[in-house]
Symmetry: C2
């Protein structure tokens, strides 16, 4: 018998938990992104560190680290032991936002209601801040404090590198830019979104599973969950881009249509997209049937992905 995640979600409980996780991540990022912790052969330059902090500390929802921690929790891994992995996916997410916002990419001036990194600093600094956030993600995973077992540290690095790289998130961003030129089929759009948004979300869940020493059926189930959750997240994002105000979102909306970005919502319409979103959430929840109440966190997050208002 599984718990009813809707109960958990509709109560205040989930929202309280989610914000508590987000605060933990925010505090840990604040501690990590300092010259003392960004160690290397030299001391990280102050302006670069400030730009990294600007890109990472401006109040994101921290949903990817939440997924790492919730997936790890299925296997009884406490929060302090999944923290490094959780931070690493957030650093990768933040690097991708800093680079995606650049003039040569999506050319965004605002992110979460604040100037984007290249606006607050300059383009060169934004490029380097993104690069160093990415490198730091791998430093965190390879550090002994991440996990005592080096096999697990290595597996986490491989998972994140693949999820972030040319066959994952960054490859999806390349396809997204290509798609603006037109000619994308429904399949092309799905592939692009599965890579651009889905890959890192799936990797987040899988990294929690790796931390927990999941067996193959468990890893497969969590991968299916991650893929469906990723699709749901993107669908909701595309729907909000049409239905929400810029104030609500903390960034410009209606931009997909203005840039002729290919989205499923643009192709199938708002109502069909909402139906599809419901089916996708169902798929995510079904994948978790092999788990008991220990997976309620992931269940509630899938539903949150679909129901969020910003």
């Amino acid at each position: 018998m599984i718990a009813n995640p809707m109960n958990d979600f509709t109560s205040q409980h989930y929202e309280t938990e989610r914000l508590k996780y987000a605060k933990t991540i925010q505090q840990a990022l604040d501690q990590t992104l300092t010259p003392a912790h960004l160690s290397g052969p030299g001391k990280a330059p102050e302006q670069l560190v400030n730009a990294m902090r600007h890109g990472a500390l401006n109040g994101g929802k921290r949903l990817r680290p939440l997924l790492v921690m919730q997936a790890a929790k299925i296997f009884g891994i406490p929060q302090n032991l999944s923290l490094h992995a959780a931070l690493s996916v957030e650093l990768v997410h933040c690097y991708s936002l800093v680079h995606d916002d650049l003039p040569a990419m999506d050319d965004d001036d605002l992110r979460r209601g604040q100037p984007t990194v290249h606006k607050a600093y300059d383009e060169a600094t934004a490029i380097l801040a993104g690069d160093t956030l990415l490198a730091q993600a791998f430093a965190l995973l390879a550090d002994e404090q991440c996990h005592q077992d080096p096999q697990i540290r290595s597996s986490l690095v491989l998972e994140l590198a693949k999820g972030a790289g040319a066959g994952g998130m960054a490859g999806g961003q390349a396809l997204d830019l290509e798609g603006e030129k037109g000619g994308f089929s429904m399949n092309d759009i799905s592939r692009m979104q599965d890579m651009k948004t889905g890959a890192l979300i799936t990797s987040s869940v899988r990294m929690g599973a790796i931390l927990g020493g999941a067996d193959q059926p468990q890893l497969a189930a969590l991968t299916t969950y991650g893929q469906a959750a990723g699709r749901a997240f993107q669908l909701a994002d595309d729907i909000l881009d049409i239905t929400a105000s810029a104030e609500q979102m903390g960034k410009a909306t209606g931009k997909d249509a203005a840039r002729s970005k290919p989205t499923l919502v643009a192709r199938i319409g708002l109502d069909a997209a909402k139906t599809h979103l419901g089916e996708t959430i169902h798929k995510a929840l079904s994948a978790l049937l092999i788990f008991g109440a220990e997976a309620d966190g992931l269940r509630a997050t899938a539903i949150y992905f679909a129901e969020r208002k910003n």
Copy 2:
């Protein structure tokens, strides 16, 4: 008794060896940078892969992978077992060139006589190609094929992430851009160059040592060698920027002065720089005194760094 590296160097032997190593790296990069090997949850987009290949396969000297392999060879590690680590530092080097060449950074149109990646493709693709080369470097290190011992794989990831990151190479590039605005002391220039160029060269040598299971005194000696070799490499580069032709270098020369880039050569003059270069090579060679003939490769490379004509 140590062998005389000059003999090795002035003979044709070293040059033949160096070119053989470079060919091995070139071939391995050619195989690695394909959609099949750039695996992830999705298939890497063709144009992005082509841009990555453009940035990585246009005939560099592959000196950093050479250092990895030569350092590993001290400990009897054969070339096939240091190949993944060697490739990873070259991918990081290539990513840094792709990003450094961008209009917002050094704004270079030519690299090794060919159009830079943003010229051959576009800026967005160049940013993503750099990002994905960086991610792929860590994927290579974390893969079981890199080394059977996950502790070594993790140590390699940590070393590379620190050498490449905010306290290493990318931090040095940030300082370099800062330095163009003026006001850099001799110490500031040294710090910048030690990070921008020295960090990755030092990490290359240290990664060879990690592969070889070096003990602390050996690692310390190789670190000192790497730092000195890195300084020598940069000094020689700054000297060549003044004395060599663009044709010889395959890129624009005289650019440091044109951009008011702070270099030691500009501060102390050509003759003093050449003397300093000699002292630095001496320091690199002295650090290797604890090793026998097995370190002759590294000795010859330090001398090559100083004597190269392009």
